[in-house]
C-alpha cells in the first residue's frame, strides 16, 4: 500500500552528486535540483567525483560520460568494484545507438542523452532513488485503485477493470512509481522496451485509453498529466 508516508518518502529530499566538467551545465543542475527540493554537490572531474561518491552517502549520482582525468564509465566501474552501489545516471553527448548499452554495461543504472529536459532528468532520478530502496510488492494500491501483479487483476472500488496485457503493464509501471512523474520515453523504455523517440504522440493515446478505463465514471481522477513532463498516478484528493 502506497500510503501517505510513502508518497512523502518519494518526495523527500534527495542528496545528489553531479559529476560534470561543464561549469555552466553543473551550476544549472545544482540550482534546478535545489528548486525541486533536493541537495546537489558538484564534482568537476572524474577523480574528484570518485572520491566524493566513495565517501559520501548519495542517493543518486549524475555522471557525465566525458570527464577530465577519469571518464564517467570508469568512475562508475571503480565505484562498483569498491562495492558502492549508489544508483548512477549517465549523461552523454555521444548519442550513438550502442552508447546506452555501453553505459549500462559499465554499471550505470540509467542513461540520458544530451540535450535532455530537466523534467526528464528529475523524473528518472526520482525513480532511481526509490528503486534503490528495492521495494517490490505484489499488490499496488493508489486510493481505491488496486493492481494485483500475481493474479493480473485490477479493481477500482468494487468494480473490476479489464485491461489488455500492455495496458496492464503500463498501469503496473505507473503504479509502481505512484506519486512520481514518469515521462513518455520512460514509458516507452520500460513498458515497450524501445529506446527511440516516436514522432507521433503514440504514448499519449495509450494513456488516454488507459485513463478511460480506470478514471471514467469516478469522481476523483487518479491518472494525471504533468504538463511538459509526463504522467503521474496519485490520489488526486490530496
Amino acid at each position: 500500500m502506497l500510503t501517505e508516508s510513502e508518497v512523502k518518502d518519494v518526495a523527500r529530499t534527495m542528496r545528489l552528486l553531479i559529476i560534470e566538467d561543464d561549469r555552466d551545465a553543473a551550476d544549472y543542475l545544482v540550482k534546478a535540483f535545489r528548486e525541486a527540493g533536493h541537495v546537489a554537490d558538484h564534482a568537476a572531474d572524474g577523480e574528484e567525483g570518485l572520491a566524493l561518491a566513495s565517501h559520501e552517502p548519495y542517493d543518486v549520482l549524475v555522471v557525465d560520460r566525458l570527464l577530465p582525468k577519469l571518464d564517467g564509465l570508469s568512475v562508475i566501474g571503480a565505484l562498483r568494484a569498491k562495492g558502492v552501489s549508489t544508483p548512477a545516471l549517465i549523461l552523454s553527448a555521444l548519442g550513438a545507438v550502442d552508447d546506452r548499452v555501453k553505459g549500462l554495461r559499465a554499471g550505470g543504472d540509467d542513461y540520458l542523452p544530451k540535450p535532455y529536459s530537466f523534467s526528464e532528468l528529475l523524473a528518472r532520478i526520482e525513480v532511481l532513488a526509490r528503486r534503490h530502496g528495492g521495494r517490490e510488492e505484489t499488490i499496488y494500491r493508489v486510493a481505491d485503485l488496486e493492481l494485483d501483479r500475481l493474479s493480473h487483476r485490477v479493481t477500482r472500488g468494487a468494480e473490476e477493470i479489464v485491461l489488455q496485457p500492455r495496458e496492464f503493464r503500463l498501469l503496473e509501471y505507473l503504479m509502481k512509481h505512484a506519486g512520481q512523474v514518469v515521462t513518455r520515453t520512460m514509458l516507452l523504455e520500460n513498458v515497450w522496451d524501445y529506446h527511440f523517440d516516436p514522432q507521433t504522440n503514440v504514448i499519449d493515446v495509450h494513456i488516454s485509453r488507459l485513463r478511460s478505463k480506470i478514471d471514467k465514471g469516478f469522481a476523483h481522477p487518479l491518472l494525471h498529466t504533468v504538463r511538459g513532463a509526463g504522467y503521474v498516478i496519485r490520489d488526486g484528493a490530496r
Binding site: D98, S117, D197, P198, V202, V205
Partner: protein, 473 residues
Amino acid sequence: MTALGKLLRTTAFRLTLVYLSIFALFAAALLAYFALNTRRMINDQIVRTLDSEIADLTRQFEIGGLRGLMIAVETRAGHPGSNLYLVTTRTGDGLVGNVGSLEPGVIERTGWMETAYRRIDEPEIAEHQALVRVLGLSGGFRLLVGRDLEERERLFSIVAIAGRWSVAIVIVLGIVGGIFVSRRVLRRIDAMSDKAQTIMTGDLTGRLPIAGSGDELDRLSANLNAMLERIETLMRGLKQVSDNVAHDLRTPLTRLRNRCEAALRSARDEGDYREAIETTIEESDTLIRVFDALLMIARAESGEPRGGMETFDAAEIARDLGELYEPVAEEKGFVLHVKAADTAPVKGNRELIGQALANLLDNAIKYAGTAAVDAEGDRAVPDIAVTAETKADRVILSVADRGPGIPAADRGRAIERFIRLEKSRSLPGSGLGLSLASAVAQLHGGELRLEDNEPGLRAVLILPRADGLQKAT
C-alpha cells in the same frame, strides 16, 4: 633539393645502383677468372714444350755425351726467337747456350723457377722474365732450358685491360640507364604528386594522370582516382547535407528567435512569457529531434553501430510496434492490421530496426490521411497493414497504406535526406524518416523499397535473414 639530388634519391636510381654494383662485381670476377685461366693454360703449354725439349736434350747427352749435348744446344740456340738454353760446368761457368745472364743462384738449384734473364746477344740493360727448368747432368754439368714469358704477360695484360674496360663500360652504361629510367619514373611520380597537391588545395575534381600502359603506376593512379571519386561523392553528399541542415535548422531557429524577440517586445504579463517560453522549448525539442535523426543517419551510413549487433525477431518488432501505433492510428481513423510470421530472425541492431519501422508507421499515419479515391469514386478503405515475413534468405518488413502514395518518379528522391515532396510540405516532420529507414536497411545489408500499393504506398524494408534465433530477453 636540386634536380640531380632529387634524381639520385629516387628509389629507381638506388635500385639501379644496387643492381649495377652486383652486376659489375660478377663481371669483374668472371673476367678475372678468365684471365687467370688463360695464364695458367699458357704456363701449361710452356711447361710441356720445355719438358719435351729437356727429354730430347737428355737423350742427346746420353747418346753423344757432353759433346752431343753441346752440339744440339748450339743448333737450337741459334734459331731466332728460340727457347733459352744454357749448359754449365759444375762451377757454373757457361759452356754453351744463348743466355747472357741470370738472377744469381738460379743455376745452382734444380727444378722449375721464374727468373729475370738477358740473352747473350742483347745489351746489358735488357731484362726479361722467363720460366726455366734446371737439370743436373752426370759429371756435375747443368742444363737449363727456359722460355720467355713476354707472350704470356702480354696476353694476360690484354685480357686484364679488356676486363677493366668492360667493367668501366658496364658501370657507365648502367648509371646512364639508371638515370634515364629514374627520370622517366620520377617524371610520372612528379606529375602524380603535383596533381595530388592541387587536389589537396581543394580541387576535388582533379584526377591523377594515367599513361595508358597499364603498369603498376597506372594501376596505382587508377585506384587513387577511384578513391578520389568516392571521396568526392561523400563530400558532395556532405555538402548537400550541410546545405540542407543549414536550411532546415535555420528556418526553425529563426522562428525560435523571432518568437523570443516578440515576447520580449510585446508580452504584458507572466502568462504571455510563459506561453512564449513553452513554445520555444517545444520548438527546440523539434530541432533536437531533427539533429538526432541526422546524427543517426550519419552514424548508420558510416556503419558505426556494428558493435550492438545481436540476433532478434523482426516479427516481434512488427507486432510490438503495431500494438504501439494501433491506438494512434485508430484515433486518426485508420484500421491498423499486423500480419507477422511466427519468427523472422534478423541479425542487427534491434533499436535501429525498431526506429526504422516506427518511422515508416509515422509516415503512413501522417501522409495517408487523405485516402485515395478509386475509379468508381469510392474512398478506399483507410487501413494500414504492417507485415513481417521471411522469404528465402530475406526478412521483409513492410508498412502499406491506402493514402495518396508517391508517384513512381518521386520515389527515389523521397528517400533522400530532407526531401519532402511538394504535397507534404505543409505537414509537420523533419523529412528524415525515410532516409533514416533507408540508412538503417543499408547498414544491415538490406534496402528500403517504396512500392505502389495500388492505391497507396507500400514501404518495404528488406533485410538479410539470420540463421537462428536465440530467444533472449
